[in-house]
Amino acid sequence: MSLADALDVASLVFLALGALLSLAAGVGLARFPDPLSRMHAATKPQIAGLLFVLIAVGLQSEQWGTVAMLFPILLFQMLTAPVSAHMVGRAAYRTKHLRRDLLVIDELSDAVDRAQRERASGEKRT
């Protein structure tokens, strides 16, 4: 078994890991009951799955330029995925698209109540 064959097998293993993470996200999307838990499942291929398939591409590449191109892909995905996840979670909480009976703890409701009290008292003073 030469080095190229070993690299082929290694990148195939990493590809399979990424594919399985995508499949887990798909199953979670189809089966989970509310947007917040679906969000938890859908973030799997965005960072971890992408990391695995990029490692697979990097093992196959013969030039350093290709590997250098892989880092910005992961960097931009890591920068933008939390932004969209934050916005979706915020909108899901505010429009009450979540199942309260599935929540163990809701720490955000305390902060929302406090902000509303502070705004009400501030309006009284002015």
């Binding site: 082929d8 097998v9 990148s11 195939l12 590809l15 399979a16 990424g18 594919a19 399985l20 995508s22 499949l23 996200a25 798909g26 199953v27 999307l29 189809a30 947007p35 679906r38 969000m39 859908a42 291929p45 965005q46 799955g49 992408l50 398939v53 990029l54 697979a56 591409v57 196959q60 590449s61 290709t66 191109m69 892989l70 910005p72 892909i73 992961l74 931009f76 995905q77 933008t80 995925a81 932004v83 969209s84 916005m87 979706v88 915020r90 909108a91 899901a92 505010r94 429009t95 698209h97």
Partner: protein
């Protein structure tokens, strides 16, 4: 067909099933937020599939597509959720 080729086909089938489940959630999704979550995941799966295809064919032409998708995929989600949360005071 070698074992390596068969494994690549298996990887492709797994990616296809993941994307099909995401499309199922986009069609079914009770709220628009479910649809945006599924769209995000579909784009992530698409990027991973581009990478898998590059490993299979041994070229590097899809790298720029992956980079552009990773950069701009979140804009649609942000735009939609911005208008969904109407109670936003700012």
């Amino acid at each position: 067909m070698t074992i390596l080729q068969a494994s690549f086909i298996a990887v492709g089938v797994v990616f296809f099933v993941a994307a099909a489940l995401a499309v199922f959630r986009i069609v079914r999704g009770p709220s628009i937020l479910d649809r945006m979550i599924a769209t995000d995941m579909l784009v992530a799966t698409l990027i991973c599939t581009f990478a898998a295809e590059m490993v299979y064919s041994g070229h590097t032409r899809s790298l720029t597509i992956m980079l552009i998708l990773a950069m701009v995929a979140f804009i649609a989600t942000v735009a939609v959720t911005r208008y969904v949360s109407k109670q936003d005071p700012s």
